[in-house]
Amino acid sequence: MISVSDVRTSPVGEDLTTDASFSIVRGLETMYRVDKKKAAGISLVQGEWAVLNSAGEAAAPSATPVAQTYLVFLGSDRFDSHATGAVTLVMNSAIILKTSLFEAASYNVGQLLTVKASKKLVGAGAGEWAFGKVVELASGVMTVEVFAQPMKA
């Protein structure tokens, strides 16, 4: 649905010639793309992360990372998601992605990453579930090796 407040409605408010803020550069062919019903009242967009709640629905993460946290491949901001009530998650798949969707902080190559309430990647503290590792840092973009299975930092 086109909204008048949409940044892509003239006057266009973003540079449309740049790469998307999120792209999977390895593992597209073999990754599992699974639709999960979205929990009521939340929105999930591509590149964010979701957790499965007790009903098996895709919900927003909390301040405490949990093992059942997954990358949102296609979010609730699409017509098909609106029709099905589901979002598409990447499950049980080792992939490499480039993303600008991470919390503002200082990162190092090799650092383990987790997901908390912001739905974005952030550095994992000791003992927290980690879902990926920084492999490259560029201006505003991070290349992340996402684990097929989470591990404890």
Partner: protein
Amino acid sequence: MEHSIDAVTFNNLFIENLDTQAGQVKTAETGAAFVRSKIRELGFARRVLPPEQVTRADLTRSTDHDTLVKIIDIEHNSKAMALNFASDADERYVQGKRYAIPFFKIASEKFVKSEGELLAYDYPITKIIEENSVKDIQRVEDEKFIEYAEAAISITGKRLASPATKVDRLQLTSLFKMIDFDERTVGCVLMNTVDYDDYIVQPATEVGSPLASEVSVNGYKYPLVLNRRLVVTNKCNVVLPGEIWAFTDPAYLGNFFILNDVKFWIKKEADEVMWQTWEYVGEGFGNIKSIAKLELDVPSPIPVGGTI
């Protein structure tokens, strides 16, 4: 402009025609003398970004309101990479980007006059207003064009402030570089007549004696400057003195759509005549990096106490 009948007769005919059952008939222009207030230009936006006619079938509606947009695709990014023999290239899930051009109305004022008062005019006021209304409408197109261009450069930062007080080739190349740097090329330069007046009087040491001599006598007759199309406007309240704009060719820039070209309406009720013109258009820039602006420190051409 030569006309066949005088203005008073024209205005009389105008009023009489409004009373006919056949409706309004445009009569020939008259030869009455009157003083014009200013030169009303055709729109410069149409010269930078030629308009394209669209129909309702080309447009998209909304579920929330009764207005229309046109959705335009933008070219997808891609790249190649050098690899070892046993390595794999990056993968990319292709996802296109698009933008929407919303449509809006541009209308002239709704003019009202009594038929008796029309008789007091020595020039064909209704005809002149009708002609001027088209240019007034195109002025609004130009104003929106510049407004959207300003919005684009506020995001990209392609605004260069220079202490120079006149535009010359060096200033222009500084402007062009802002677009060249992004693997684009300048297709069109837009400036107002005040800056153009400065540009065309460059010395022979800068432009060569033949051109300097020619310009001194005949003015600058070329449609190009440094091999880019030159568009000059006298709308100094829209493109201010000191503001020089650079745009790429339209294919790399954006869109200007016309849904319904200018329409003219007229009505007579008792002894009052009303008339108005309007059009439906949509314009915008999808590639915001294709615009750059140079801001010179040009002094006001009007002495202190005057206004532009």
